[in-house]
Amino acid sequence: MLVVEELTKRYGKLTAVDNLSFIVEEGSIFGFVGPNGAGKTTTMRILATLLAPNSGRAWIAGEEVTDNPRRVRQLMGYMPDFFGVYDDLKVGEYLDFYGASYGIPAAQRRRIADDLLELVDLAHKREAYVDSLSRGMKQRLCLARSLVHDPLLLLLDEPASGLDPRARFEMRELLKELQHMGKTIIISSHILPELAEMCTHVGIIEAGQLVANGTIDEITHLVQSGMALEIKVLERGQEARDILENHFGLTGIDGSENHFQVPFGGDEEDLSRILTALVGSGIPVVSFAESTNNLEDIFMQVTRGVVQ
């Protein structure tokens, strides 16, 4: 559905997007994650035909975004990280206006607006002024707007930013519903866990470059191959450290005397042998566990190197 090939965008001396390449399969929800200023919005804007790249190309359903912007706009729905609403229009009029802007005949627009308002649970607000909607409602209305021309691909730039937990939940449910409807969705966020539940694939971007890309499981596995072992003992911490270093060749132990972490790349048998050695030496082990990386840890781990 989407192919991005060596995309580069520079603003003066700053390279916002640096040789970025990735592919998004049809029907998937692709989480585009990265810290603030990583180049997510710039990439989104290039894909939305709002910004021309310095070099590189991108295709949406086979149409190149710079060469055929008008055709791409018909295939893609864009929801920026701001509301972008006309306060002096009513909710129904707002959708009708964008429907007309996409060339949808007047006879169909009313039905489409009704369906979309039903989908985003705003049917009861049809005659309300956009100005009177809550933040979450405006966000849902913007999502409805991006769907007005029934696009194949949705580009959602930080759709959950600034929303309260309930509104976030509602937005998440909506996106799942859209996936069931067969839409391909690219959703950006600087919070990885926020995307974990709904994304099928994740791309982590930092300093304009993709530092990790794959399914959630693949990325977790990638990071966990360099996971840590967290050990807490009641006493004789130094003795435990010596065993780990001398008997198992583990280095890079970090932490306090009796509570420390050590980088570990072995399997479960190795874990068992280490624990047996520690207990066999009479060291009072309080806890012994692989440090379970949550998505936030993964994000920090993946992006740390580039930042430093």
């Binding site: 709002l50 964008y98 802007s101």
Partner: protein, 317 residues
């Protein structure tokens, strides 16, 4: 095909809807007509109470018409920037320009319909003023053709100042800045063109050239004066005469007698304004087009600029 042609452009439709649903629109029309009516009534009252001109003379109609016509032009000049200088920057401030650009509407369609929507409102003001101008017909002395020509000047002035407003709103991010710059440019058209014309005429006169500088024809007041009834038409040469340029009117080319062979000032103004409008609109369309054909032109300029900068850097180092 015919049915499709009748469909209102969405930008135009939205602008009409947004503009006409608030109380501001009828208020502006009322105030506008109120001011014009005051001019008409004020002139007549002054004339009736004047020690010199009391009574009903044949010049009442033309004089009232000239007063109304000039005030209408100043009102149009004053109102147009207010309606147009925020059309693109306002979309940017509301963060809706990107969303609009993302649709199937072309940049040309967005710019032209935004301008058309604003100008339509000015046309409404001008049309609404017709009954006030109708009062002149109680007194006579003004031809329908002359009023028609004056209204062409109004429309062209509104279009030109409108295009300047739209252009400024596309290059300045903030509406306030755009409005201020537009009013400065409008002021230049109203006053600066004549001042510059007088200066250039003075320079030319020393070289024995008594023609009126071309820039003067961009002045809408000059254009309007050339549409006035016969006794008021010497506007341009007499204006220059005021500054001691050209000596007697007869020495200045550009008097109405000279114009008989060629075009009248309002026609020159029409052509000049037309060129300005077309050029400004094309530039505005290029400015707001992110990618595609016009975006390509923009990138070409940027690339050239970047290359020049890079060359400079190499030279310096």
């Amino acid at each position: 095909m015919i049915k499709r042609g009748l469909v209102l452009n969405p930008v135009l439709g939205k602008e009409f809807r947004s503009r006409m649903r608030t109380w501001k629109s009828p208020l502006v029309v009322s105030v506008y007509l109120g001011i014009l009516a005051l001019i008409a009534v004020g002139y007549y009252w002054t004339r009736q109470t004047s020690m010199v001109y009391s009574g009903f003379g044949p010049d009442v109609g033309p004089q009232m018409y000239v007063a109304l016509a000039i005030f209408q032009l100043l009102l149009v000049s004053f109102v147009t920037p207010a309606f147009t200088a925020g059309v693109i920057s306002g979309e940017r401030e509301r963060q809706t320009l990107d969303l609009l650009t993302c649709t199937r509407l072309s940049s040309a369609s967005i710019v032209l319909n935004k301008l058309l929507a604003s100008i339509s409102y000015i046309v409404l003001l001008i049309v609404a003023s017709l009954p006030v101008f109708g009062v002149v017909y109680f007194f006579g002395g003004v031809l329908l053709q002359e009023i028609g020509q004056a209204f062409v000047v109004y429309l062209m002035t509104a279009l030109t100042f409108g295009a300047i407003g739209v252009f400024c709103s596309s290059i300045f991010r903030r509406t306030q800045v755009s409005v201020v710059v537009t009013y400065i440019i409008v002021f230049f058209f109203l006053v600066g063109t004549v001042a510059l014309g007088v200066f250039l005429a003075n320079m030319n006169m020393r070289a024995g050239d008594y023609s009126i500088p071309t820039i003067t024809y961009l002045n809408p007041v000059v254009a309007l004066c050339s549409t006035f009834p016969g006794q008021f038409q010497g506007g341009l040469p007499s204006l220059f005469g005021m500054f001691g340029i050209g000596g007697r009117y007869g020495r200045m080319s550009g008097s109405m007698a000279d114009m008989e062979a060629g075009l009248a000032p309002w026609q020159y103004n029409f052509i000049g304004d037309g060129i300005i409008v077309v050029v400004l609109l094309i530039i505005t369309i290029i400015i707001i087009t992110p990618v595609g054909r016009f975006g390509g032109i923009k990138r070409l300029f940027r690339r050239k600029k970047t290359t020049e900068t890079e060359t400079d850097t190499v030279d310096i180092s």
